[in-house]
């Protein structure tokens, strides 16, 4: 089954496209959802929700801006985060998707948040490819240390050590050379 075929059927509002999306990309979608939504029942609900989100927004996918896998994982990840917040309302107050219902921040809070996001994204560009991958696994895909360790063929302790050094480096990059560490 070709990726292009599924996308075209989704764009053509063909429901078999949705069926095949779940069939062929189900393992990837479950992989993204599992660390964020840990309850198995919630995971299935979240998967359906994510599939519907893809169905609704497939026209926003632009191959010029990135791959299908990158777009799909982003949609699934954001859906999973929103789903987690919905089932655990007090878990987090952060809102990362403009479509997700959330408490409205004040203009000052919004500005400060945007400045911080911009600073973190600038600092990320200065990390090595391995450090970037580790960062995104931990803070974007929200993978637990044990999963990261198993998938990278290393121990949890080693991953914790790398994350500690990564955070220290980020603090230094964000706070300037004068930062002495925690």
């Amino acid at each position: 089954m070709e990726e292009r075929d599924i996308i075209e059927r989704l764009l053509g509002r063909d429901e078999t496209g949705l069926h095949d999306l779940l069939r062929y990309y189900g393992p990837l979608m479950r992989y993204i959802i599992a660390p964020i939504v840990t309850d198995p029942h919630d995971q299935e609900d979240c998967l359906s929700e994510a599939a519907m989100r893809v169905w609704d927004r497939v026209d926003q996918f632009d191959p010029q801006r990135g791959s299908w896998t990158a777009w799909l994982t982003a949609v699934v990840r954001n859906t999973a985060r929103n789903h987690r917040r919905a089932v655990q309302p007090h878990h987090s107050t952060q809102d990362l998707d403009e479509n997700t219902p959330s408490t409205q921040p004040t203009p000052e809070e919004l500005l400060l948040r945007q400045e911080r996001q911009a600073a973190v994204n600038r600092a990320l560009l200065l990390l090595s490819p391995d450090e970037q991958t580790l960062f995104y696994r931990k803070y974007y895909y929200l993978q637990p240390t044990a999963q990261i360790a198993a998938e990278l063929g290393t121990t949890e302790r080693a991953v914790e050590g790398k994350l500690y050094r990564l955070k220290k480096r980020l603090r230094k990059l964000l706070g300037g050379e004068g930062y002495a560490g925690p």
Binding site: R23, E115, A119, N121, A150, E151, L174, G175
Partner: protein
């Protein structure tokens, strides 16, 4: 943008901030890297490619399989708990890794050429070949199981193609097919194998997300480093402990010549060199009883093309009484200076009857090696002394099968005056032939060689005097014996 709050934030706050700050999807490279299976399968497939290819230069025929096997070990270690087929693959890889690495370590010793042809090792080689097929079968079933678990159609044709191509190569090896088209067939096979591996990787593209790699207690990097250290240490020990023959050194003294004093005196009177005479066994001295005349020729030789000539070779011929034209030939060597390293040494003897139809053998070859230490002389029989039939390849003469007499031995690192000799009797078949006896001494100059080879093996596989760490000195005793004189030709 610098925010003064960064420094004041506690760990939890900072983590929450990082989590909330990344709202843009990660770069494509990161998306491609965040998978549970790609690292493991990439290692497995690269490992298969590296263990399949054989490049016989720069030691790549050893290095690539060693690296490939380590990659397969790490790859299958991660997937060993995914399903029983992949667990079996890991078990098979462990066996194959032990077999491969033990062989690589054994290659650093001189014993590999005697151990590898043994029936047990032949059996293990056969098992290893069968396990290679079994491994592909298990890989095929393992990947199909992953696809079924992911709810995808089970397809892993790449692994089947691998088995087929391996089978073709195995059959060609079994029938010992040699021909111009073999290279082409192997090249096509290898390209097909690489294509199959690529296909196999693509077949896992979506199903692979259903894989859950097993946690590990030892990091991949540490495990790879441990394998590398084990191999290097094993080879180092092999070079250190397995680069010499075990010699049966025994203390000897003048008492062993008691009863032969009269013959000794007679030989000395005829001009037999005293330093050679003192090294002979009582039996070899007794064989010269009634000697009529002695012909001696001495040469000093370099063992590295330099002006220094530390190897003295003395040829001595003793005419014996009775039947006319009976001679006892001695070739004696003496290291007058330490050459720096003694590994394995060998002597290839071309006796008079070997080079001329005017002579015949009149007995067996004898001899021994000796050295002095703290005023005490030690002697030992040769580790090997006898005939060897071998096929050598030369750019001048092509492939040739010969049978020669060889003596093989090792010298100790300590002591001085390392020396030895070979002796044999000959008899004339016809008058008018030159007595031409050759003594080809092969010296090992360094232990650094891989795979390890003995001086005798080096001499047998190559006719050149310079071959890797070996250097061959050729010395000949050549004279024309008549009733009145024995004129040396050199």
């Amino acid at each position: 943008m610098r925010d003064p709050d960064w420094e004041a934030m506690d760990e939890q706050e900072f983590e929450a901030l990082l989590e909330s700050s990344v709202i843009q999807p990660p770069p494509e490279e990161v998306v491609a890297e965040v998978t549970p299976w790609r690292l493991a399968t990439k290692r497995i497939l690269t490992g298969i490619a590296l263990t399949t290819v054989t490049l016989n230069f720069w030691w790549l025929n050893y290095l690539l399989p060693a690296i490939g096997m380590a990659l397969m070990l790490l790859g299958f270690r991660a997937l060993r708990r995914e399903n029983r087929w992949l667990g079996l693959c890991f078990g098979i890889t462990v066996f194959r890794a032990v077999y491969l690495y033990a062989g690589l370590i054994l290659n650093s010793t001189i014993w590999h050429s005697t151990i590898f042809p043994s029936p047990v090792v032949y059996g293990l080689t056969g098992v290893n070949l069968l396990l290679t097929f079994a491994q592909f079968f298990c890989l095929w079933r393992g990947f199909r199981a992953v696809q079924q678990k992911a709810g995808l159609p089970a397809r892993a044709g790449g692994a089947v193609a691998l088995m087929v191509w391996y089978g073709v190569i195995f059959l060609l090896a079994l029938v010992q097919y040699v021909g111009f088209i073999l290279l082409g067939i192997l090249l096509v096979s290898y390209i097909c194998i690489l294509r199959s591996l690529w296909k196999l990787s693509k077949e896992l593209d979506q199903a692979g997300y259903a894989i859950r790699p097993a946690p590990v207690r030892i990091e991949d990097g540490t495990a790879a480093l441990a394998i590398a250290i084990l191999l290097v240490a094993g080879c180092f020990l092999g070079w250190l402990l397995g680069c010499k023959y075990p010699m049966d050194w025994q203390a000897t003294g003048p008492a062993e010549h008691s009863g032969a004093e009269e013959i000794e005196a007679q030989l000395l009177e005829l001009g037999f060199p005293d330093y050679v005479l003192q090294d002979l066994t009582a039996e070899d001295i007794a064989a010269c009883d009634g000697a009529l005349r002695v012909v001696t020729d001495v040469h000093n030789h370099s063992v590295n093309n330099s002006a220094n000539e530390p190897l003295r070779i003395t040829g001595v011929a003793v005419e014996l009484p009775g039947e006319q034209g009976r001679w006892m030939i001695f070739h004696h060597f003496l290291w007058t200076e330490d050459p720096g390293f003694y590994g394995t040494e060998s002597i290839q003897l071309w006796p008079a009857q070997h080079l001329s139809e005017g002579w015949r053998s009149a007995g067996t070859v004898s001899g021994r090696v000796l050295y002095d230490k703290n005023g005490q002389t030690y002697s030992a029989p040769y580790y090997y002394l006898g005939e060897q039939t071998f096929t050598s390849d030369s750019i001048f003469w092509g492939e040739q099968t010969s049978t020669d007499i060889f003596a093989a031995f090792s010298m100790p690192e300590t002591g001085e005056n390392k020396r030895g000799y070979l002796a044999y009797p000959v008899a004339a078949l016809q008058d008018g032939y030159i007595l031409d006896s050759w003594f080809n001494y092969t010296h090992q100059r360094t232990a650094l060689q891989y795979p390890a080879m003995t001086a005798m093996e080096a001499r047998m596989c190559n006719g050149l005097n310079w071959y890797g760490p070996f250097y061959t000195v050729q010395d000949a005793l050549q004279f024309y014996p008549t009733a009145e004189s024995a004129d040396l030709l050199s």
